[in-house]
């Protein structure tokens, strides 16, 4: 599934990012395969998304989130 489908409070691991669609800046902030991601908060219409990626707290738009592939973590 993609990051855009993540629910609030859910934890996941990034498995793949399509580097053509993702700005380098986001990669540098820790949005890389293998790192953990959690959805902290969503604005109205679930866009933008406020994420905790690998300890970095950042907000990205849904249109960017659909290019990030994740796997949810069950605890």
């Amino acid at each position: 599934m993609t990051l855009a489908e993540l629910k609030r409070g859910q934890q996941a691991i990034i498995t793949d990012v399509s580097s053509i669609h993702i700005p380098l800046k986001l990669l540098e902030m820790g949005c890389l395969p293998g790192n953990s991601v959690e959805l902290v908060q969503v604005a109205p219409f679930a866009d933008p998304m406020y994420l905790n990626i690998n300890g970095s707290h950042l907000a990205i738009r849904k249109e960017t989130a659909i290019h990030i592939i994740i796997e949810t973590v069950h605890e």
Partner: protein, 699 residues
């Protein structure tokens, strides 16, 4: 002579880099621009032990050396230009103890440039709170650097940092990882083509779209087998590089840092549950804005009244004390009222920057960006446009410069074009004096009518900005690809020192920047109002005495008539009468016309101009406001500043493009005269129309 070394402060945004800068330099700092561009350049001097002086440059915050904005280009250009006068002898990378992993990415990049580098780990006072422990000795060894563990908030570790700076010669310049391993054959080719160059530096030049000294670029392009990779391939390599850097960092931190999650507390998540909430978030934002406007209005009215009356008294005192003559008049009527017109803005500008810097320092501004992005996008703007639109309430110039971190060019252009609609502080004095004249006193729900009117004007400005953005968005069409990444930093209690320095610096910039212009214009205006051509002006006394000879006027009344005869036939009077037909339908007389024309240089000139024009015509010590209230409409009778003309004037100033400096900055940022010209014509034309309709409906 004492020795001086160049030190560059580098770091991610929100790491407290500026606090470190302030702690090192104190008041020994100056803010300028990098040559040719409008990126703010902060530099200062720090005295070190043993007679060494450090010239410290606070570089714009950046997440990496892969630049995506003009501000970030500055960092790379400075670090790559070995012959530049600011090329650092020593780099200081400032990091935040809570985001060490991400901050170290930039650190490893700087190290690869083989510049001696110190790592500052800031906010160390939060380590216990977050359950973090660090093995400094291990980290220093692995990262091949010296580490200063400091807390600018608690004022700890600064002297240790200074000590490290003094021993700058002992700092290692060795890189800490070998980035060229990401594609060995490619980098081997590179090395063959440019044997004398640093590999990582070459790599940066290839991958960046920025202007490194032009000659540099040409020599690289000249070599044939240099560009062997497509853009997509390069990007893949950059991703690989990033992953490799993180591998190194993760391994280093695995041993060098332990985080006890059990003892970690996160205030940020708790606060954000409310502050970025779908409903509460917006409500809180609205309440904060409302409070700010009420505060600006209430708190600054006392010092402003005081300044206004002091300058009136000073002007009167000069007139009485100095020998009579033309220069005394210039001093009393031109220069002192001109100065008064500058000083009177200081309280509001200071308050406004106080609030803006608190919002930014505390980290709340990022939440506003998050909350507003979806709404702003509908109008072709970005959530990041909110910051320019809010700082536009101080001044459009820094606001337009603040658009640089908007990733999409279309969103950025629209933001630049509509930002001048927001109510800048230069409009404030115009609004305040007209509101005081035409809006009745009294309160509703504890808020004064006057404050509400002011708030409404801010909303109108904001609405005009957003509305015109929507129109531009529709006209420009085509959805350009846009990226949006915004960091949500931890909440911090704003540091008094940082806030105070920002307020001081911005106020100073206003007083000495805009102030000089206002003063010069006041002097010229006084001259134009005090001298005139022909008989009607030079013989005013005789003409008036003859004209009213039969009416038996008192001496005072006669003098008044003479002064107004003179003013009407002065250079300015003639010019004013020439444009009067154009502004008469808006409810203005020729005096207001002059004030409007002169405020095309800068809006804040309006009040000063009226003050100058009116003080030329009267003898008594009076405040500007009283003089304006006493003006009579020459055709309809009754006060000139009534409800209709007042509202019309307020609306005209809300929409008109009257700031040469803003036009200049728009030209600079968009690299064309087309956009500032559009702004000038469309905004001012619209302002005229709205003011016309308002006056005709209300009268």
């Amino acid at each position: 002579m004492s020795k001086q070394i160049n030190v560059a402060l580098i770091g991610n945004p929100n790491t407290g880099k500026t606090s470190v800068f302030n702690a090192l330099t104190g008041l020994n700092q100056k803010v300028g621009n990098y040559p040719g561009i409008t990126v703010e350049k902060k530099e200062g001097i720090c005295k070190l032990p043993r007679g060494v002086k450090a010239h410290i440059i606070d570089l714009p915050g950046t997440y990496s050396l892969n630049a995506s904005s003009l501000d970030e280009n500055v960092v790379i250009e400075l670090l790559l230009n070995k012959n530049g006068k600011d090329y650092p002898d020593l780099a200081v990378v400032v990091s935040d103890v809570e985001n060490l992993k991400r901050n170290l990415l930039l650190f490893t990049q700087i190290k690869d440039l083989e510049i001696p580098t110190i790592l500052v780990i800031n906010m160390s006072d939060r380590m216990a709170y977050k359950g973090i422990t660090l093995d400094i000795a291990y980290l220093e060894k692995e990262l091949k650097t010296k580490i200063a563990l400091i807390s600018t908030r608690k004022n700890k570790g600064i002297s240790e940092l200074k000590e490290l700076l003094t021993h700058y010669k002992e700092i290692s310049a060795e890189p800490c990882l070998n980035a060229s391993e990401i594609d060995t054959s490619y980098f081997n080719n590179l090395r063959k083509a440019f044997p004398n160059q640093l590999l990582y530096k070459l790599w940066l030049v290839i991958t960046q779209d920025v202007n490194f000294g032009k000659t540099d670029r040409k020599t690289y392009d000249a070599v044939e087998d240099f560009k062997t990779k497509s853009k997509a391939d390069l990007k893949r390599l950059q991703q690989k590089e990033t992953i490799k850097r993180y591998q190194f960092i993760n391994e280093t931190l695995k041993k060098g840092q332990t985080i006890d999650l059990k003892s970690a507390k996160d205030l940020r998540i708790k606060l954000d549950r409310i502050l970025t909430h779908k409903v509460w978030g917006y409500l809180i934002f609205a309440v904060i804005l409302l409070t700010i406007f009420q505060a600006i209005y209430d708190w600054s009215s006392v010092p402003m009244d005081f300044i206004d009356s002091s300058f009136a008294a000073l002007s009167e005192w000069v007139k009485v004390t100095l020998p009579e003559g033309a220069f005394t008049n210039l001093l009393a009527e031109g220069i002192i009222s001109g100065l008064g017109g500058i000083v009177i803005f200081i309280p509001q500008i200071a308050f406004l920057f106080l609030f803006i810097s608190i919002l930014e320092e505390s980290g709340y501004m990022s939440r506003v960006v998050f909350l507003m992005d979806r709404i702003m996008r509908r109008f072709g703007l970005s959530g990041k446009s909110v910051v320019p639109l809010i700082s536009g309430t101080a001044c459009a110039i820094p606001a337009i410069m603040a658009t640089r971190n908007i990733e999409s060019w279309k969103e950025r252009l629209i933001t630049i074009l509509v930002t001048p609609f927001t109510t800048c502080s230069a409009r404030l004095p115009v609004y305040l004096i007209i509101i005081a004249l035409v809006i009745p006193e009294g309160r509703v729900l504890g808020l004064s009518y006057q404050a509400l009117t002011l708030m409404l004007l801010y909303l109108i400005g904001f609405g005009a900005a957003v509305g015109s953005a929507w129109i531009l968005h529709k006209i420009m069409g085509q959805k350009s690809k846009s990226f949006f990444v915004v960091e949500m930093p931890n909440y911090k209690l704003p540091l008094l020192k940082n806030v105070a320095l920002t307020v001081l610096e911005k106020t100073k910039a206003f007083v000495f920047g805009a102030g000089k212009i206002i003063l010069a214009i006041s002097i010229v205006l006084w001259f134009l109002a005090s001298y005139g051509p022909g008989d009607n002006f030079n013989n005013a006394e005789n003409i008036v005495t003859e004209k009213y000879a039969s009416q038996n006027l008192s001496e005072d009344e006669l003098n008044q008539k003479i002064e107004s005869q003179k003013l009407e036939h002065s250079y300015i009077g003639i010019a004013g009468h020439a444009i009067e037909p154009a502004i008469r339908p808006l409810g203005y007389d020729w005096k207001i016309g002059i004030a409007i024309v002169s405020s095309f240089a800068a809006r804040e000139v309006f009040v000063g101009t009226l003050a100058t024009i009116y003080s030329v015509g009267s003898d008594e010590e009076e405040t500007i406001k009283n003089r304006m209230a006493g003006e009579v409409n020459p055709i309809l009778g009754g006060p000139l500043f009534n409800f209709a003309s007042g509202i019309s004037l307020l609306l005209f100033y809300a929409f008109a493009m009257q700031c040469m400096s803003t036009l200049a900055i728009v030209k600079k940022e968009t690299n064309s005269w087309k956009w500032p010209l559009y702004q000038l014509v469309i905004m001012s034309g619209f302002a005229y129309l709205v003011a016309l309709v308002a006056y005709q409906v209300l009268i």
